[in-house]
Symmetry: C4
Subunit: 215 residues, 4 copies
């Protein structure tokens, strides 16, 4: 009796700090990416050319920004539907944040090696793709766990949770494909990852629901 209540205090927890901490990590990871972009010393003789020469940095920055942005959107889509979290979800979430906060390292490797020799280029992009894949795997794990453990708002219909699940799925296979492509055409694979993040970030049912006329 007396036991029945307290365990729920210790295991079922409010989502406030889960969200605040995750938002902090997402926000920092997405913002410190820019610290990696630099123009070499002595660039003042042709600054315009030096800025243009940094295109691999901008491309890598854009992919990372788009990936973290898309991951944040999916993360909020999950937690917005959760009235509370539990101890396991909190730990799976740390797994997600581990790869999100690690992303600036492979991003820098891509930026530095996209115009290096073929081997380095390939290694950097495959490594980058693996981290992107890990992020999307952990997001899928969070979703599956929340669904299986009944952490979602019970008022959500089965049809709706299936719709979200479907929207979560494709990124998964896509990053696996992009990693394979990186072995052959690394530059194209990076562009593909950028397109993927942007396309996957299009809201499910956006066209159907969002533009409906309002009174």
């Amino acid at each position: 009796m007396a036991r029945a209540n307290p365990p729920s205090r210790l295991t079922r927890r409010p989502t406030t700090r889960l969200e605040a901490f995750s938002d902090g990590v997402f926000a920092i990871a997405i913002t410190i990416l820019v610290l990696e972009i630099t123009v070499p010393a002595g660039a003042e003789d042709d600054l315009l050319g030096a800025i243009a020469d940094q295109w691999p940095s901008y491309l890598a920055y854009l992919v990372s920004f788009a990936t973290i942005g898309a991951a944040w959107l999916k993360h909020t889509a999950i937690t917005d539907l959760m009235p509370h979290t539990d101890q396991v979800f909190l730990r799976l979430n740390l797994g997600l944040l581990l790869f999100v906060s690690f992303l600036p390292f492979p991003t820098r490797l891509v930026a530095e090696n996209l115009e290096a020799n073929d081997g380095a280029e390939r290694v950097a992009v495959v490594f980058f793709g693996l981290v992107l894949l890990a992020i999307s795997v952990f997001l899928a794990l969070l979703w599956r766990y929340a669904l299986a453990e009944g952490l979602l708002d019970p008022s959500l219909g089965r049809e709706d949770t299936q719709a979200i699940g479907t929207a979560m799925a494709p990124s998964f296979g896509f990053y696996a494909l992009a990693i394979l492509a990186a072995l052959v055409v690394p530059k194209l694979a990076v562009v593909g990852m950028l397109v993927a993040s942007v396309v996957l970030a299009i809201p499910p049912g956006a066209l159907r629901h969002l533009r409906a006329p309002r009174a």
Copy 2:
């Protein structure tokens, strides 16, 4: 029936995480600017002189700080009036944050090149101005979208939304002007951008409403 309610759960979303994530990005972008300010090695023989010589860094720091601060003020002015957000607004907001978090890079370019040759100075300030312009364009987009899609609190009167819209407008043309000025007088253009951020940050109707006597 069963459908009519859930879609609103998936499309109309609370603004909590939008605000927390945005506040995080604004706070980090405004704070890491200082990492770019350094005094050259061996400055201890004339540290006062070395600190004074960093004036282009302080100027660039001030402009970026004032711009991000002003953008944050406008962002809160918009979201404070929104009872909820939607999927498109979340993505437009990521567009804004892309340029806010990118700002430290052109800030550093200005700091490094404000005393370099004329060409580098001009390129750096124009590049900087373009990013400031992009920030102000995205803020205007957010405002227009919120207004058009009925995301604002319906109790707000037409007169009030017009007042805010008017307050949003000028920054737009101002940055375009500053970019043109940067082609001729880059240093003056930077000072102009600083004045702009400060002037544009003066609250609409501040003088009329804020100093009214209170019981």
Copy 3:
């Protein structure tokens, strides 16, 4: 009539984002201070000695950490008593954050010059003290403004607001003194600033109220 209500929506604002954004800036400024601490390359032959040699870095880190921590405590003490904020308070707050986020730069100067020649040491510590003074001036301004404009919870008694005001006052004169001391005995002035931050952070009435027995 219709006007009387909306202006209060545009001028009197919730404190949520003011607090979230400020907490972000305080948290980042206090955390990136550590990025400045490094051990010189080739230190592995005598790592213990090299770690010990960084004492000026630790001292500067501690003073900055204690100052930002004390400023955060005072900031929360003010905003916890405010049911809402206004447009001017938001801008004064940006002034405070400008100096808080600038602090890592003078902190690094102190760390680098505390064992340099006398002149550099003096310049670095005075510069550092001026930024600490600016932070304490802006905190006092925020408090005075909140008091004068009726932003504080009206249920607070006059006696209580006076108690807080008294607790706010001393830091002010203290930093001015420390700056003067820095001209003569810079190392001692830094230690004084550390003691000041810690002493000033002792809660007003802590001994009287906090240790009272509870049922």
Copy 4:
């Protein structure tokens, strides 16, 4: 009378900003760790080898990430049970954050010296262990203080608070052991610290409560 209420306004405070500020510091400390990971210049000839050679960086990154993650979990476990905070708790919390935000420095020392000579390796790992120990001491202090001062939700039973206390205890002795081990077998001690963080992060009663069937 009039006095009896206001003092509680000044001493008993909401936990909102305590949590927001702490989440910020935890999030930043856990995210900037990645800035320390770099591949040496000229690595493009054998990028795969260069990435593999960074294993001490990944190990140090993992331990710090796991430690900060575990500390964050314990911190939320404490504050989730606190309806309000007080002035002393706020200051003890700053003590915890001092060591959390300091962690990137010893992390870097470990990463840089794990393959250096025996002496440097030992010094780096012992220093690292001492900071981890300090973090766990401050967490225990926060818990004890909250318990002793009646800051916890009174509806929590004695049995439950004891369960949490028990879960808090072991990390303490573990880090002391790991520091001793570091004097003899530094590499193994680092692995031990990693295992410790992961094991200690397993939720108390996880197996008993979390997998219970739900209707």
